[in-house]
């Protein structure tokens, strides 16, 4: 007799009650402490759930009678692989078959789907998705597994302790008793959800640590993956906004007659960020927008050029700033020192330039509530901001999070800028039709919210043995968090920690170390950009360290090693990359190697870059060897992909990308002048992952800041020059 038959019969008899649908699945609402942090409890959870007062329901896994396991992802999938990572954690503890697992995105709900590292807000960023979910998702899967085992035990009349689960089935070893998860789901759905579960010993992991295939691949190679642009709603119209050419300009007057006469244009409205054209489709909206006549009041608008900005910043480099770190007395030590080494760095504004331009679909319902479809990265903030515009409650803003065609920080706007715009357009048009707000590439490139421009000055003196005796790093630039909801949490004694991260956290053993910040104000809107402060601090500190090594006549790897006594994880990736990258091996003439090591978001990355310098200063980056320590490697293939992509993203800014201003207007507009890395510029990449049992940390950002200094150091090794400014167009 087949065990399937037993299960079906017994389960129907024992558990099906009238009025319950046979297809009812198992949806677990798990009670979890809101403040749970990774590391609270390792394998074996006993005793960690005592904060009963803070318990809130969560829902992350569903198992259907059809044997499908659906993982509800609370984080935005923007390419970093989080759907796969979250599902891996659930499936691991559930003992599901990987191919029976589907992933859907969670509805916006700060109570159930908050980022555990952010308190009561749902959102994705700071490379926190796996870090904050590691235990939460594992518990979700483990609880479901316990219930399935218990259901089988009751059906079979045996002790649950004697049962096992594997590959989507529960069985009693040595008996032939076996049932699929789908067959047990209904029965299990009637059981109590366990409050405490025992997690696997990592030694038993079958999925975590293995390169399981991504869950989003099929849809992304056959064109069926749905992005914001792809949403069609009945009666929907497309909106485009003409924005001011200079930041800080205000609308004086506009004439929409010609636009309204343009084919397919339905409405023209003034909205807070400009003039909105509402039309039948993209082409009609764009054609209509092109013939708008608008006068702007630019009396208070930004009117400077990039050079003037840097000139102002350079004068601040001469003045002491607010201290962000002070060990020993660097000022005193530098005052009397001989042969102080000094370098001034400058970093331009940068656009995120995700492949998918910004956009948002919004639809109003009869009760005034709205549905929104887009690649939402900060659902809770977006709900709040939209609710204010429309005069409704945040829970009346239902967000359907879609795949995002990249973000790199841009979609996590602290003011929900483009989401609010969609709501403003909807409001201006009276909410009568669904609206798809689209940004063109030009809108996206010129729309601000850039990585801010920064300058650094680093000065150092050396001991007689060549080690740094004193190091002073002054940083000048705008604050990302000033004026945002993040300001109080991310400012320490007047210092925006995102402006100095990577510099104030310098891992090297230097007795007199001082880091200072000047926070500037400009009307140019700025925002986090993949790896945030490290985008500039890693470059300045790691190229400067090479300058010191050269000054001391020492090998850059040895020089760092001697200073990393207090930073074993930095040292480990450095040693690994030096070994794998063939550090010290001879190279052909014109070729060079450079090294850099940096921690961001608690992940440690070191790189050795190989370059070739050709005639007239042209150069290529040929090969990059990466060593990364991100704790437990949940999916090694995704980690590799993020190292490849992350360093490629950073390499664009080394080679060519920059946003510049002329008379207050952004010069660049599209990929012909905001140029980015292309296939023929991509180096070979080799990634080595440090085996680790530490809690997992993020991999979306930490590769990005390391490539710049590795390449610059490699170029310096060939040319002997300093590279104090990005991009480096000529070696």
């Amino acid at each position: 007799m087949s065990s399937d038959v037993i299960v079906r019969n017994v389960s129907r008899r024992a558990f099906l009650s009238a009025g319950l649908k046979a297809a009812a699945g198992l949806t677990l609402s798990l009670a979890l402490p809101v403040q749970a942090k990774v590391g609270d409890a390792g394998p074996g959870l006993a005793g960690t759930d005592k904060a009963a007062a803070e318990l809130a329901p969560n829902a992350f896994v569903r198992i259907g009678a059809d044997d499908r396991v659906t993982v509800v992802a609370k984080h935005l999938e923007m390419g970093q692989g989080t759907y796969t990572g979250l599902a891996t954690l659930v499936a691991e503890e559930l003992d599901a078959r990987w191919d029976q697992v589907d992933v859907i995105s969670a509805p916006a709900d700060a109570k159930r789907y908050n980022n555990l590292l952010w308190g009561a807000a749902q959102g994705t960023g700071g490379s926190t998705a796996i870090a904050n979910s590691y235990e939460q998702m594992r518990r979700a899967g483990a609880a479901a597994r316990v219930m399935l085992l218990e259901a089988a035990a009751r059906i079979w009349g045996v002790d649950a302790q004697t049962l096992s689960a594997q590959d989507g089935r529960v069985f009693k070893p040595g008996t032939g008793l076996s049932a699929s998860f789908g067959e047990l789901a209904d029965a299990a759905s009637r059981l109590e959800v366990p409050v405490e579960v025992v997690l696997k010993d990592p030694a038993q992991f079958r999925l975590v640590g293995h390169p399981v295939p991504r869950k989003d691949i099929a849809a992304k190679i056959n064109g069926s993956a749905v992005f914001t642009q792809d949403i069609q709603r009945p009666g929907m119209r497309t909106a485009m906004i003409a924005r001011a050419p200079r930041f800080g300009a205000k609308l004086k007057s506009f004439d929409g007659e010609k636009a309204l006469a343009s084919s397919g244009v339905r409405e023209v409205h003034a909205v807070p960020s400009g003039i909105a054209v509402i039309a039948d489709h993209f082409w009609a909206a764009k054609t209509g927008r092109d013939v708008l006549r608008i006068e702007w009041d630019e009396s208070a608008a930004f009117d400077a050029g990039s050079e003037a900005v840097f000139k102002d910043y350079a004068t601040l480099l001469d003045k002491p700033g607010l201290p962000a770190r002070s060990d020993g007395d660097a000022n005193e030590a530098l005052k009397d020192a001989q042969g102080v080494v000094r370098a001034d760095y400058r970093f331009p504004f940068l656009a995120h330039a995700a492949m998918e331009t910004l956009g948002c679909v919004i639809e109003q319902q009869n009760d005034g509530s709205v549905d929104m479809w887009y690649g939402a990265q900060m659902q809770t903030g977006d709900q709040y901001a939209v609710s204010k515009v429309l005069g409704i409650r945040p829970d009346q803003v239902r967000i359907h999070t879609l795949y995002a065609g990249g973000s790199f920080g841009r979609r996590a706007n602290p003011f929900s800028d483009y989401v609010v715009e969609a709501a403003e357009v909807l409001k201006a048009s009276g909410g009568k039709t669904p609206i798809k707000l689209v940004w063109t590439r030009e809108d996206d490139t010129r729309g601000g919210w850039y990585r801010a421009a920064y300058m650094h000055r680093i000065e150092a003196s050396l001991e007689s043995d060549g080690k740094p005796a004193a190091w002073r790093n002054r940083i000048v630039g705008q604050s990302i968090v000033a004026g945002t909801a993040f300001e109080s949490g991310m400012t320490r004694k007047g210092v925006d920690v995102t402006s100095v991260e990577g510099a104030a956290t310098l891992p090297y053993d230097i007795p007199n170390l001082r880091v200072e910040l000047h926070t500037t104000k400009l009307p140019v809107p700025i925002q986090w950009w993949r790896s945030v402060g490290s985008t500039h601090t890693a470059y300045a500190t790691e190229t400067f360290l090479d300058l010191l090594a050269r000054e001391a006549g020492q090998d850059p790897v040895d020089y760092r090693r001697a200073l990393l006594g207090e930073s074993p994880r930095h040292l480990q990736v450095l040693n690994l990359v030096a070994e794998k990258g063939g550090w010290g091996k001879p190279l052909a003439k014109g070729r060079g190697r450079g090294v850099a090591v940096h921690e961001s978001f608690n992940s440690y990355v070191a790189m050795v870059a190989e370059v070739t310098v050709k005639g007239s200063g042209r150069y290529s980056v040929d090969r990059v060897v990466v060593a990364v320590d991100c704790g437990v490697a949940v999916n090694p293939d995704i980690i590799r992909a993020q190292m490849e992509g992350g360093l490629g993203y950073g390499l664009s800014t080394v080679l060519e990308s920059e946003i510049t201003f002329a008379d207050g207007a952004v010069r660049e507009s599209n990929f012909h002048d905001y140029t980015v890395l292309r296939a023929n510029q991509m180096p070979e990449v080799e990634v080595h992952i440090v085996p680790s049992a530490e809690a997992p940390t993020g991999v979306g950002e930490p590769a990005t800041p390391v490539i710049g200094p590795a390449v610059a150091n490699a170029l310096s090794s060939v040319t002997g020059k300093r590279y104090l400014q990005l991009p480096i167009r000529r070696a």
């Binding site: 849809a219 993956a225 749905v226 599209n670």
Partner: protein, 156 residues
């Protein structure tokens, strides 16, 4: 009124003459696998095949399409296309995925015209298509794999 031959079927569309094929596909016909990335022939997100050759649909007015056979990602079939898609899957190429329809069609066009490209020819041939997630390492390997699979008869 234009009559377009898309993925083997005939479609009649009422569109202004200057409307790029991209928006006809996306906004009038609901074929949203073809993406907008720049609108000025810089990024390749809008790549479609016309008579087997990669074209930028964002700068191709519908009036200039004529009776060419248009293939979008939704209709990609044939030996080369299937080889490219399966290599893409085997190497987990996509990250955000937004550029990938264009990448896959560009790769299909490349291998159709040159079944045995060198690595340098692959890098050059694919450099018209931007990937902001910088999946270029895997794109290169996947085109190589598709070429090898095709020459070794591993694809049906």
């Amino acid at each position: 009124m234009y009559e377009l031959n898309i993925n083997g079927a005939s479609h009649r569309v009422d569109a202004p003459a200057d409307m790029p094929l991209l928006w006809v596909l996306r906004d009038l016909l609901g074929l949203t696998g073809t993406k907008y990335g720049c609108g000025i022939a810089q990024c390749g997100a809008c790549t479609v095949l016309i008579d087997g050759v990669a074209q930028r649909s964002c700068v191709l007015p519908v009036s200039a399409v004529g009776d060419g056979a248009i293939t979008t990602i939704e209709g990609l079939d044939g030996k080369v296309g299937r080889a490219v898609q399966s290599a893409w899957e085997a190497l987990s190429v996509p990250q955000c995925g937004f550029c990938q329809s264009g990448q896959i069609l560009a790769a299909t066009s490349l291998l159709t015209n040159n079944p045995t490209p060198s690595d340098a020819q692959i890098a050059e041939g694919m450099s018209g298509n931007i990937c902001r997630c910088c999946t270029y390492v895997r794109i290169g390997k996947a085109v190589r794999k598709a070429a090898d699979d095709l020459t070794q008869g591993a694809v049906r």
